[in-house]
């Protein structure tokens, strides 16, 4: 029983990352009709926004400490971050400690700007081209972005820990009246799940309850009519691309304490996120979220030792098996509109 609860919890946090990326993919597909293979790279860029932000905070000046020696036996050069000078050491340390959550404020404008630049500069030229062209150009863009990140940050992973208050794990078992220590779950993963739900909720609220969102939804349903009403729908869709980029970016920022990021992390998520979109139903936002969480949980169960022993290799294929079953039995996906991909 405790194993089952544990794997459900596990699936939820991984699933929420899938859901956030798939949500952005679906937003872009629903509004602009573009299959965006660069979306995983946007997730990765978000993670590197967090790294960049923490590096900006740690910009330092060098003080030579004669009492200590470096690896060559010369006096040690100690880096003192400027924020220690400005705010005093305790406050400076606290700011550095909370750099991951603070990076959210830095990432939102950066990612929206990047998203708008990518859409206006590149993707808009491919609206009228076949999907295959769009896939090629966005995939190419993903590779270019990866290589740029690798050039500046190297290929190895860069640790970016969560604030100390969230390091450690929560005894879930004791909290629900089971044996203490039977289900423990890291604090930061709980934070990640809550953050993802909040973000997904805000995107839905934005689309549902604002005039801007209403126009976007109308545009998704019938772009031409909305255009005929004198509304510049293209501009709004550009903004939506920026929003989708920011959602992927924030998913990346908060993911850095879970897995230290490297330039390749986007690709690892991209393929699965596409499966999520297909399973959830092309163009369906609730479908993307539900399928993200479901597939995350499914993947967790498939990597249990008992399951692997019974069905070797199942942990690597379970998501694709689920996709095959869904495509055969319900081609429009779990929550896809009737008729989509069913002709």
């Amino acid at each position: 029983m405790d194993q089952i609860i544990l794997q459900i919890l596990n699936g939820l946090d991984k699933g929420s990352a899938y859901a956030l990326i798939a949500l952005g993919l679906t937003l872009i597909f629903g509004t602009l009709g573009v299959v965006n293979f660069a979306h995983g790279a946007l997730f990765m860029l978000g993670a590197f926004c967090a790294i960049t932000f923490s590096r900006i905070l740690s910009v330092s000046h060098v003080v030579i400490d004669e009492t200590q020696k470096d690896f060559l036996g010369n006096p040690l050069k100690v880096d003192i971050p400027y924020i220690y000078d400005w705010f005093g050491e305790p406050t400076g340390q606290a700011i550095l400690n909370w750099s991951v959550p603070l990076a959210i404020l830095f990432t939102i404008p950066v990612m929206i700007t990047l998203g708008v630049i990518i859409e206006r500069g590149l993707i808009k030229h491919f609206y009228k081209r076949p999907h295959a062209d769009q896939i090629l150009v966005t995939f190419g863009l993903a590779i270019v972005l990866q290589e740029i990140i690798k050039y500046y940050f190297g290929a190895n992973q860069i640790p970016n820990p969560a604030p100390e208050a969230f390091i450690g794990s929560f005894d879930f078992g004791a909290a629900i009246g089971m044996k203490a220590g039977s289900i423990i779950y890291p604090y930061w993963r709980i934070v990640y799940f809550c953050f993802a739900m909040l973000l997904i909720g805000s995107v839905f609220a934005f689309l549902q309850f604002t005039t801007f969102g209403m126009v976007v939804r109308a545009g998704m349903a019938d772009r031409e009519t909305v255009g005929l009403l004198g509304i510049n729908i293209d501009r709004r869709f550009t903004v939506m691309f920026g929003v989708a980029a920011a959602v992927a970016g924030l998913a990346g920022v908060m993911y850095t304490p879970i897995n230290p990021p490297n330039y390749h992390m986007g690709m690892d998520f991209l393929v699965i996120s596409f499966v999520v979109v297909v399973v959830g139903g092309m163009g369906s936002l609730p479908g993307a979220v539900a399928a993200g969480l479901l597939l995350g949980i499914l993947e967790s169960f498939a990597s249990m030792r008992q399951v692997i022993e019974a069905l070797p290799g199942i942990n690597q294929v379970v998501i694709y098996l689920a996709a095959i079953v869904i495509l055969l039995t319900r081609p429009r996906g779990l929550m896809g509109r009737k008729g989509v991909m069913e002709e």
């Binding site: 405790d2 194993q3 544990l6 794997q7 596990n10 699936g11 946090d13 991984k14 200590q68 470096d70 690896f71 060559l72 040690l76 690798k150 190297g154 290929a155 190895n156 992973q157 860069i158 640790p159 820990p161 450690g168 794990s169 220590g181 039977s182 423990i184 779950y185 890291p186 930061w188 993963r189 879970i258 897995n259 230290p260 490297n262 390749h264 992390m265 690892d268 993947e299 967790s300 990597s303 249990m304 030792r305 692997i308 942990n315 690597q316």
Partner: protein, 451 residues
Amino acid sequence: MSKTKITRRGVIKTGAVAGASLAVPTLLTAGSHTGFANAPTGSTVTLGFNVPQSGAYADEGADELRAYKLAVEHLNGEGDGGMLQTFSSKALDGTGILGKKVEYVTGDTQTKPDAARASARSMIEKDGAIMITGGSSSGVAVAVQALCQEAGIIFMAGLTHSNDTTGKDKKANGFRHFFNSYMTGAALAPVLADRYGSDRKAYHLTADYNWGYTTEEAVRNSTEALGWETIAAVKTPLSQTDFSSYVAPVLNSGADVLVLNHYGANMVNSLTSAVEFGLRAAQANGKNFEIVVPLYSRLMAQGAGKNVAGIFGTSGWHWSLENTAGARYSGTNAFVKSFGEKYGFPPSQAAHTTYCQTLLYADAVQRGGSFNPCSVVEALEGFEFDGMGSGPTLYRAEDHQCIKDVLVVRGKENPANEFDLLELVDVTPAEAVTFDPGIFGGELGSCNPGA
């Protein structure tokens, strides 16, 4: 426009002439250069450095390349000479190799066996490289070693730790300075039994490829021999990034030690998950729960950050070795000084092994008096040397594996600087990690001079 008439006789004649003219240069080359591939003719000799310049191990590759460039400088008599000052063989004198200035070409393995073979082939065929060295993965090393054997070129392996490289896939033209999984098991198990007791239950997570298998096997065999029990061993896909679903069940499995047979990004991620899930602070079977990482590298430790604190593993070499373990490891400080002054940070174990391999090759050519691969093989087989930072070392003739001391290290609790991440716990002497070269199967075959 004239018509060309093709006759049967004409085709045969042309074919014979063309065949003969193609054959002549080969015969001449073979005759004039004592019969081996890429024999250097001018005043220079070209070495091929085949390292990952892109892909997941690009940082290790970059450090290997720095070490190679430094070795070339030292061979050509530039810089301070590095380990040439401490190396027990004095055949090299800073005038290149056999009086020929050393030049190099580089290739990108991308950490993929097929790409590594293609770049090695290009360096051999287009650039005339006389020796290929490098690689940052056992899959790559095994593939390139086989290619060099066919081409009649010497292969000096870089960072490769699987038993297979000098075990079942060994080749007469291939040599490995780095240690292997078996030696890791033999060095690590006694230290683990000493620190954690002999009544322990281990849970292994293993990367699903040849290095993972041999490492798991080595650590299992050597810990079980000391009384440990293995509760479970789970293979994890090499492409896995989030290990939470593999790590989460460990605490309630009855195990009290988690062994992570992972390297590179896999290790950073699985260790991060294990620490996140509270395994470091947990109790199991009335003991403190422990985590073990059989193969450590400083570059990986940098990726995992504070999570490595207190965790045991093995390493081939560490830049602080001579200062902490004494003059037995002479050469270490000389190498760290030249490397550190040139690049501003200390070398990694990958840099150390590739630097040594380059000097060892050059020395073997110099001592044998020829670039002929068979002469190099003869000079290296059974060669005993010292002063290269690892203590007295033997290049064993039976499997072309270096037999030397292995370090047991632990992640530092309070690192003094960003390079000072591992502390030396114990040095296991070469005798204690020596193994029967026959146990892994495979045949060396005979040396191939090519041409």
